[in-house]
Symmetry: C2
Subunit: 408 residues, 2 copies
């Protein structure tokens, strides 16, 4: 494989035309769409419209005129097809963390006699922290049971109330088997919550097909909703009837503008709403999701796999010392490439200085996101080339690159 | 008083120059800044910069380069002087509702033996709903005690764990005595949480002077942060040490980017952070707050009082049948004028058709917000004139104005 071969692949790529939907900086190869997705061009015009026209000119009347009040549902409906969810089962609200709190509360209440929450050892910290915070608040002896990915099925037992899993691991890119683990949870009489932060918009997700109970996910990675974009929450149709969660805010009320003294939850998924939605941030996510209209997630996965193979083939041939953490089996991974290097932080700084942006994860992980809608085969080829040059030349081994920044 | 007199007052108004900081629609008199503040011109440029440059060009590196990660604290520091709070005691995060949940959890944990939460009858519903949701979740027999404003001091007793009050009532504009009620709460051994949604940026607030324990408030009313702008939370310095709340998200961790398995709350006010902040919405609030730089809240109150007097004098003279709900004593009200009319909804629709925007609140309330930074005496004079014309002519009494919209 050489650059000419990679460029030929780009010419034949059925997703190539989507790159033009994004405003990408010149001279940068962006392999961090798994942390913050690139800016869709449509967002620029939409935000200018929301600020200048809807807020500036429409003022308070825009809650009706532009239907801001139902934006959380409308955006939810755009996410639903990307995650295999039926209409009316997804709403956008709050952050992933807060949505975990709501859904875990709901799930624990279904199994009041059971005290164990099963999760993966090495799950993204906020999932574990939020579960721990809820357990402490309840003070009813709920405990976390952490198990390695391979032992999860065994860890789900008759004492398990809820299983809380992230489908794609943030540090390895490994994907759990949603269908098998959901089946195992149900077999044990437990409910299951899937965190789709590294799945939504990245790989085909089949919440309905897997019979999942609940799911959450963020809007700012593969969905390209912008920094800190609001998160989403999914509830299976069988759990929607009578849905009630403890963060009983006025916008989750059945009739918020009646200002009734008692709380009656809205019917269905709207019961997960709490306070006023951040309209600017939510409108950016709304506009960003239009890029996905007509995109088939199977095609996204096929290109991601091609990019993964291209990159790892180059790495194995040219800098074989780099340890590739992400599974080579396409069915067992998300849309990232995670590599291990003892000086991962410094290597990433050297890469950034060369225009290749990815991220570092503690303690020794280089994490590169594959976003097929705006990455070209040639970009990935160049990135592999630059990475191997950096490793070979030792240019990362300089004091400037070894200083830790606050966030990476 | 006639229009010429009102215009003379505008020429002498020391706050008159701030009006030019806002992008206001032509031909509209906006008396709804207490629901959604007008657009500060600086927000337009700031949001274009955040979207195009920071997100679009800086991508993931902007979390460091533009210090997005500390934006919740920086915005909190701008709000602090407006509410009489010391540096390091205010953070911007989530919604008012979610912040009530956090702080009420903290406060209830301080008084585990007490089971009563005192609030005002007719407090804004979300405050009562959120408290009810927390009480149900805890399942430890916490109960709400609702009392009329005049009976609040008596309702705070030795069984009271927490007092949860909104300083300015959303339906009457009446202001509670923060200092006296805080003292009464402490005397009874209770803690107090103040909801400042209709206070922050509207009237001088002295959280430190009143010795308040906790406070929350929204960013989208008098602070002009835009639709659904993030909310703020205040914790008195004496409660900051060891502060821990149940929504233990990763960004409230002492070292979020260490991705440690155990949760250790950040020192101080940062322990109230949960998930990723919505940077677009929060940046709008940040830019909007710059309008307040150098503004003295006493001057804002003085002008609000002058506007109130001007409006009510006209109403009493020209349409005396209208019932003015808001106290005439300036020390006992916020920055609104609440009127009662049996067909309040239809009257408000007729006013909007004439370019005077305020809002309707169930069941019979016309609510007008006084925002001295962008309202002129002449605007308020004209609004009173138009309101009395509408009432006198009966032009509100038409089917088109009597149909209820979804949100008002």
């Amino acid at each position: 494989m050489n650059l000419t071969d990679a460029e030929a692949l780009d010419r034949a790529d059925p997703l190539a035309r989507y790159r033009d939907d994004f405003a990408l900086p010149e001279g940068i190869i962006y392999l961090d769409g798994n942390s913050l997705g690139a800016l869709p061009k449509a967002v620029v015009a939409r935000i200018a419209q929301v600020v200048g026209e809807e807020w500036g000119q429409g003022l308070i009347t825009s809650w009706n005129r532009y239907d801001w009040i139902d934006l959380p549902r409308r955006v939810g409906e755009k996410i639903a097809p990307l995650i295999g969810a039926a209409p009316g089962t997804v709403v956008v609200a709050d952050s992933t963390s807060v949505n975990i709190f709501k859904l875990l509360s709901v799930a624990l209440a279904v199994r009041p006699d059971r005290k164990v929450i099963v999760t993966e050892e090495g799950n993204f910290p906020t999932d574990v922290y939020m579960a721990g915070g809820l357990a402490s608040l309840l003070g009813r002896g709920h405990q976390m049971r952490l198990a390695a990915a391979a032992s999860l099925a065994d860890a789900i037992r008759e004492d398990t109330a809820v299983v809380l899993l992230t489908e794609v691991n943030y540090r390895t890119g490994a994907k759990l088997d949603m269908r098998a683990l959901t089946e195992r949870a149900h077999e044990a009489g437990a409910l299951i919550i899937w965190d789709l932060c590294h799945s939504a918009g990245a790989i085909p997700v089949e919440l309905t097909g897997a019979n999942a109970d609940f799911a959450v996910g963020c809007g700012y990675k593969f969905l390209n909703g912008g920094p800190g974009a609001p998160a989403f929450a999914y509830v299976a149709p069988r759990h929607l009837s009578g849905l009630r969660q403890p963060l009983q805010g006025w916008l989750g009320h059945a009739a918020p503008f009646e200002f009734a003294p008692d709380y009656w939850p809205a019917a269905g998924i709207d019961a997960l709403r709490v306070g006023s939605p951040p309209i600017l941030s939510m409108s950016a996510l709304d506009a960003a999701l239009d890029v996905y209209a007509g995109v088939e997630m199977g095609a996204v996965k096929a290109k991601a796999d091609a990019l993964f193979d291209l990159f790892t083939t180059e790495i194995r041939a040219r800098c074989p010392g780099l340890d590739i953490l992400t599974p080579s089996d396409p069915a067992r991974r998300g849309s990232q490439i995670n590599l291990r290097h003892p000086e991962a932080y410094a290597v990433m700084q050297a890469l950034i200085a060369r225009g290749v942006i990815g991220d570092f994860r503690q303690p020794d992980i280089i994490r590169l996101g594959l976003t097929p809608l705006y990455l070209r085969h040639a970009d990935v080829f160049r990135a592999a080339d630059i990475l191997c040059q950096v490793i070979a030349s030792g240019e990362w081994d300089q004091p400037g690159f070894k200083q830790r920044a606050k966030v990476v």
